[in-house]
């Protein structure tokens, strides 16, 4: 009885510490995202995308520097990019790299691993390698529609027409009630005024209104992502209480198994990329740099929490490819690191 009370106490402590740690980062992310929603024209952003596939994949991976979102926030943006007719290399690169390759995560990792600066740079480097490679593999497919969910493909329309579509066609970011205005153009009824206006307005509203809408959008996104964060923190706390660290340590005794253990941990814990560096830091004492990097690179790409979000965009087959390729590439890179350097 006393033991379970202690466990409950530990769990609550862990839960709140994760939450408190993550909240400021989430707030920054929401602020940036709202600014971008209302003050940056995505069309112009897409127009400057390079045509070369490799460069496009790299550019997509680096968009994160302008959209500092964690893995909870990047899926809607990637979806919007796909629907806007962006090359799949750009969208996949962004999807996989943006949660890691962005200033907030870079800074947080730097704070956590200040005495091992190579972890910070290798995290970014490995993420870029993996994201660009997978983006190139996905660009083998010119027409992504067989791998996207049906409702998404319906909204995109024919590939030719989607490329030449009216630039005012707005992305559909969230589930909700929709109004079909014209073929391929939808209006979400329960969206906040900011997003509705951003979708329908031809001329941008005055600055005061836009600021007001930005605040509204921030509140909305904070509520939405905050809920995800609370659940994520709860899962992380639960896993750490229910699965004692000894079990994970037992999995990861060797240079090979430690990587697998940390990847499994990253997948289960689903911790937000803005704070996972601090989480990983608590394992820095017992795991190799390679295993830590596997956690830090794999966690933000694919985890338990965002598989459900990914299912709103991709069909299962594509998610399996994403998951398997990412896991294998990261395993390969960190294994080389563990076995040959150290």
């Amino acid at each position: 009885m006393a033991g379970s009370m202690t466990q409950l106490n530990n769990g609550i402590t862990l839960f709140f510490s994760l939450l408190v740690e993550a909240m400021p980062f989430l707030l920054i992310g929401v602020l940036f995202s709202s600014v971008l929603l209302l003050f940056v024209d995505e069309q112009k952003l897409l127009a400057i995308m390079p045509k070369n596939v490799v460069l496009a994949a790299l550019a997509g991976s680096l968009i994160g520097f302008m959209f500092p979102v964690c893995e909870c926030g990047n899926i809607p943006v990637a979806r919007r990019l796909l629907m806007k007719g962006a090359p799949s290399a750009v969208a996949i690169g962004f999807l996989l790299a943006a949660p890691t390759v962005n200033p907030v995560v870079f800074w947080a990792t730097w704070i956590a691993f200040r005495d091992q600066p190579e972890i910070v740079f290798l995290r970014v480097g490995f993420t870029l390698i993996v994201a660009v490679t997978i983006a190139l593999i996905f660009s083998a497919q010119d027409d992504m529609r067989p791998f996207l969910q049906d409702n998404l493909t319906r909204m995109m329309g024919e590939p030719e027409s989607s490329a030449a579509a009216d630039p005012e066609v707005s992305p559909l970011l969230k589930s909700g009630t929709f109004l079909m205005q014209s073929p391929g153009q939808l209006l979400q009824l329960d969206a906040p005024p900011a997003q509705v206006l951003a979708q329908v307005a031809v001329a941008p509203p005055p600055l005061g209104t836009r600021l007001q809408m930005m605040v509204d959008n921030m509140v909305l996104e904070l509520r939405e992502l905050g809920a995800v964060l609370v659940i994520g923190s709860a899962i992380a706390a639960l896993v750490q209480v229910a699965v004692p660290r000894e079990i994970i340590l037992g999995l990861g005794q060797g240079p090979v198994t430690s990587i697998l253990a940390m990847m499994a941990l990253a997948w289960v814990v689903s911790i937000c990329s803005t704070v996972d560096a601090f989480f990983a830091l608590s394992f820095a004492s017992t795991f190799t740099s390679g295993a830590l990097l596997a956690f830090l690179v794999f966690g933000p790409m694919i985890d338990l929490k965002n598989i459900s979000l990914l299912l709103t965009v991709f069909k299962g087959r594509a998610i399996v490819y994403l998951f398997a390729l990412a896991a294998q590439l990261i395993f390969l890179l960190t294994l080389i690191m563990n076995l040959y350097t150290s």
Partner: protein
């Protein structure tokens, strides 16, 4: 999951280009991974970082860190870690970092080698295979054993001199035109703050002293303080500054409008407090605050007398009226007069404070107690509010200094004695009934035990300085009055300290001799009997005894230390003070 998917037959559903490319890449990666795992572990564990690597450590540095490249087998590291000379200490681990905390302060002027061979990483230890470990060896040094004094004879007269004990070198730091009055070394020993009057000027009198710094030519290489923030990245990349030659002078505070009377340098080297008086208006008198990059400004408080900056460098102990006020030296000092943080009414003098700020040695002149009149008491006042009388003398308490490494206080005090009672020949013609006999005492602060170390000749002033590693004292005595003409030049004595705990390990026969001999030595031996040959040897023989004791690991000494044979330096000077 990937395997299951890839084992599926290639149906028409998987005919998309992405399916083919993805499955091919996944198969290739699986193959590469399999080969990689079969090839085995080729990594070599190594030491990533040693926090004292090629650094110069001082008495305040008590722990170093070794960071490994991967998690290590703790036992294999602890068993194989060696140091030459041995470093007694304790090991603690935080992940891949090992902290080694020394139990005894290191002797100055030595070089240490730390090496580690045959350690294993944690994976190797579990798999029972020979671990790969890159043998590690690093060296670090302790700071020089050196002291400063103001010369009195020949070329050195009134100039600041740096004496290196190990190399037996002396360097004159200040120019001939400056007559040095007082000085204080900076915490790393790279600079000295001093006050001097310019004898080349018309008004080069003692009252016109200005405050300068001069470089010693020592380039400090302190270990990185891992409790503080790291320096910015660009500072780590930039090459270190070239060493500064000795004798580079810079003026800190001039004497325009104000006379500088006394100064103190804070232990962190960032704050100087100077007692100044307006040349036109003697009522405009009080302490000023001088900080680098700021213009000097007066501290708005009641005028006071003697003062001392506390070890935290944030507060000033200032004699005011009949007691000692503690004044905050924080940032808003200039905002109007401030109330003291605390006031200790009974104590008319603060002699020294322990380096950790936990206790101060203060003098009570016993003005309130008629029975104790004409006596002085030495009190230990702790920051817990405890006040303990350590010593009461009917003469005067001249100086006190905490041992930086042991709970021991060294005291210079004088007792009134009747020369007729003294066993010695009366040195002064006894026109007065009593003379003051100065004594050097050591007080063990844990037990309060007082042990007299030396009876000193009856010449004053006497100055005492405790070495930063606690292994020697410096004592300078005014020269004996020969009766005919000028007095002898002042002498500097080197007194090696033998702590009881360490003495147990050294040959037992030495201890009574060591105790009895020095009690007479400086007084009995007249300076004339010392030949020049005898004067050069003392440094080595004195140096050997404290450095050779390996037993510093035992319990801290509760009994006061004793002195080994004192030695006299072959030069004369005053205010001999160890470099920190």
């Amino acid at each position: 999951m990937a395997r299951r998917r890839s084992r599926r037959p290639q149906s028409s559903r998987l005919a998309q280009p992405l399916d083919r490319v993805a499955l091919m890449v996944m198969a290739g990666l699986s193959l590469a991974l399999g080969l990689l795992i079969l090839s085995g572990d080729h990594a070599t564990a190594r030491v990533r970082d040693f926090s004292w690597q090629d650094r110069q450590v001082g008495a305040e540095d008590r722990a170093f860190l070794i960071t490994f490249s991967r998690p290590m087998d703790v036992a294999s590291v602890e068993q194989n870690l060696t140091a030459d000379p041995p470093l007694p200490g304790k090991v603690s681990w935080a992940g891949r970092r090992m902290a080694y905390t020394l139990t005894a302060p290191l002797p100055y002027g030595e070089s240490f080698t730390v090496s580690l061979e045959g350690a294993r990483d944690r994976y190797g230890a579990n798999a029972d295979r020979p671990g790969h470990f890159e043998p590690f060896e690093a060296t670090f040094q302790t700071r020089q054993r050196a002291f400063l004094y103001i010369g009195t004879t020949g070329d050195e007269a009134n100039r600041l001199v740096l004496a290196d004990v190990a190399r037996q070198e002396r360097t004159i730091l200040t120019p001939k035109t400056l007559s040095v009055l007082a000085f204080e070394p900076y915490p790393l020993g790279d600079k000295v703050l001093f006050s001097a009057s310019d004898t080349s000027q018309q008004d080069g009198s003692l009252l016109n002293q200005q405050i300068y710094t001069v470089t010693t030519g020592i380039t400090p290489r302190p270990p990185v303080d891992f409790t503080r923030d790291r320096p910015p990245f660009w500072q780590q990349v930039l090459p270190p500054r070239p060493p500064v030659p000795s004798g580079e002078l810079s003026l800190i505070l001039d004497n325009q409008n104000y006379q500088n009377l006394k100064f103190d340098l804070s232990p962190d080297g960032q704050t100087i407090v100077v007692q100044r008086v307006n040349q036109q208006d003697p009522a405009d008198f009080g302490p000023w605050l001088v900080r680098p990059g700021e213009s000097p400004r007066p501290i708005e408080t009641e005028p006071g007398g003697d003062f001392l900056i506390a070890p935290d460098s944030q507060s000033l102990l200032l004699l005011q009226g009949q007691g000692t006020a503690i004044i905050d030296l924080g940032d808003d000092v200039s905002r109007g007069p401030r109330q003291p943080l605390d006031f200790l009414p009974n104590y008319g003098r603060v002699l020294d404070m322990a380096a950790d700020g936990s206790a101060a040695a203060m003098v009570n002149f016993n003005q309130d107690d008629p029975e104790k009149r004409f006596t002085e008491s030495l009190f230990l006042v702790t920051n817990q509010g405890r006040e303990e009388e350590l010593l009461q003398v009917n003469g005067a308490i001249l100086e006190a200094a905490f041992d930086p490494t042991q709970p021991v206080l060294y005291v210079l005090a004088s007792e009134l004695i009747d020369p007729a009672d003294s066993l010695e020949e009366p040195i002064l013609q006894a026109t007065d009934a009593y003379v003051e006999q100065p004594l050097l005492l050591a007080i063990a602060l844990t037990s309060g035990e007082v042990s007299p170390l030396l009876r000193l000749p009856q010449q004053q002033p006497i100055h005492l300085s405790v070495a930063p590693d606690g292994r020697a004292l410096l004592l300078d005595l005014a020269g004996a009055d020969t009766g005919a003409g000028a007095p002898e030049a002042p002498k500097i004595w080197y007194l090696p300290v033998v702590h009881q705990a360490t003495q147990a390990a050294s040959p037992a026969a030495e201890s009574p001799a060591a105790k009895s001999q020095p009690a007479e030595s400086p007084a009995a031996e007249s300076p004339e009997t010392k030949g020049p040959g005898a004067k050069t040897s003392p440094l080595e023989s004195a140096d050997a005894s404290p450095a050779s004791d390996p037993a510093a690991t035992s319990e801290p000494a509760v009994t006061p230390p004793t002195l080994a044979a004192p030695e006299e330096f072959p030069f004369s000077g005053i205010q001999a003070t160890w470099l920190p």
